[in-house]
């Protein structure tokens, strides 16, 4: 069953005009910023497919910028994103890109830079405001904007996953799903978990203590 709750149909509060081209676009950018984990100074936004064709009339560009500024799809401030970016000194640029046929027509590539570090995130808006993050720094991803998603980038070493699993058990976190994607050349993996309950702050602190872990992010939308 696709719609299990009445709130799937009468509970999505969002800035218009389009759940896929506005709300979903904002959500991808919001999650991208959560993954970056800090305020970007420069962002390069590549619009693909239908996003490239009709971004103007749907406010897709405004919505993406708003998400990168930390606004969620139900924030009435979205429409002021250009002015706020100006005020906060966020340097942004848009370009039309062709990511290829493997990507959903409503996709965007977002490169964030804070002066020291860079991250590139590709996400797709798949309808009704729902999204999927497809790539994080060239590592294949596949998580959406579901609440209680834990995303970890770690060195691809023996025992890395055991340490993560043990920590999750220690904090009694029940996991609904888990996936790993690896870059064998760089010897890093991206691991993501969808938990049944909220992810406690202490758990993140505990995970960060392991040397093989590069970063830990919580997506709580």
């Amino acid at each position: 069953m696709k719609y299990t709750s009445i709130f799937d149909v009468i509970g999505h509060i969002m800035v218009g005009p389009s759940s896929s081209h506005t709300a979903g676009a904002c959500q991808i950018a919001y999650v991208a910023r959560l993954l970056f984990g800090r305020k970007p100074k420069t962002v390069k936004i590549g619009l693909h497919g239908s996003f490239a064709e009709t971004y103007k009339g749907h406010g897709t560009d405004i919505a993406i910028l708003a998400g990168l500024l930390g606004f969620t799809p139900e924030d009435d401030m979205i429409k002021n994103a250009f002015e706020i970016a100006e005020k906060e000194g966020l340097d942004y640029s848009f370009e039309l890109v062709d990511l290829g046929v493997d990507y959903h027509p409503n996709s965007v590539s977002i490169e964030m830079f804070d002066g020291l570090e860079k991250m590139n995130v590709i996400g797709s808006s798949i309808g009704g405001g729902n999204i999927i993050i497809k790539e994080v720094d060239s590592l294949e991803a596949g998580f959406g904007g579901e609440p209680n998603t834990l995303v970890i980038l770690n060195h691809d070493k023996i025992g890395a996953l055991v340490n993560i699993a043990n920590t999750l058990q220690k904090f009694k976190l029940n996991i609904g799903s888990m996936k790993i994607s690896r870059n064998l050349k760089k010897k890093i993996s991206l691991t993501w978990f969808e938990a049944d309950t909220a992810i406690p702050e202490d758990l993140i602190v505990a995970l960060k203590k392991y040397p093989e872990i590069i970063w830990v992010r919580v997506i709580n939308v």
Binding site: S5, I6, V9, G16, P17, E53, D76
Partner: protein, 288 residues
Amino acid sequence: MFESISNLLNESKTKGIPLHELIINDEMEFQNIPKHIIIEKLNKSLFIMKQSLEKALISDIELPIKEASHQAKRMLSPGIFCGNNLKEAVGWAMAIGEYNSGMGLIVACPTAGSSGTLPAVLFKAKEILNKSDDDVLNALIVAGAIGAIIGNKAMLSGSEGGCQAEIGVASAMAAAAITYMAGGTHLQIDNAIALTLKNLLGLVCDPVAGLVISPCIKRNAIGVVNAFLAAEMALSGVESIIPADEVVDAMMKVGRKLPYELKETGKGGIAATKTGKRIRKSLFSDIL
């Protein structure tokens, strides 16, 4: 969620539990949320619906398609053919539609493009029937369940099933809600849904330039009239020969058969007219 409309209506009838209570119980059990949170979320949706209407009526919204701007307020004058209530409700739905197209904050019900229909019908029915806020809340619950059931049996997006799956469903949700609000029987609610969906069966999704503006905003108007008409017919005892569930099945099949050009691609229907193409060209010629 309930498997079918008849499933929901029959369970309420045989158990003697009012529809809104049955739906809340289901939500509590299967979503694992306490009742007060459900009520809080419903109130939030209602608040945003009210706010979108209030703000829409005092805003001066310029849309990317200029010709489509400032149309709703023209409907806020006394009715010539429609009667003041119906005309005003249509004006409200169009106002929320314009507000949505101008990046206003709305409740997608079921989608953003069809977000004007349900609030306009609910608020006008409340006024006509002199009902309380709680009655509106209960009607909204019924609308939500009907929308979710139709979504599971068919679809809730123009890209999958055409406008029948957006305005059509919004209109059916609204018709069910106000038939319930007016004290209609289970059979009358089923009839109201069937009549609404039948009237908009096969409606295509053909947005000019691919934007949620034209015909979307004004399709909310037919969503309102159709909902009031179906509820009026059902409450007067007019029956649909085909039960609501079977109409939904038909809608699903029609939606699947609709060609790609008529499913939100902006490539068929009024989007492919001379004027539609001219507007598209004027909007996107200077892209980046």
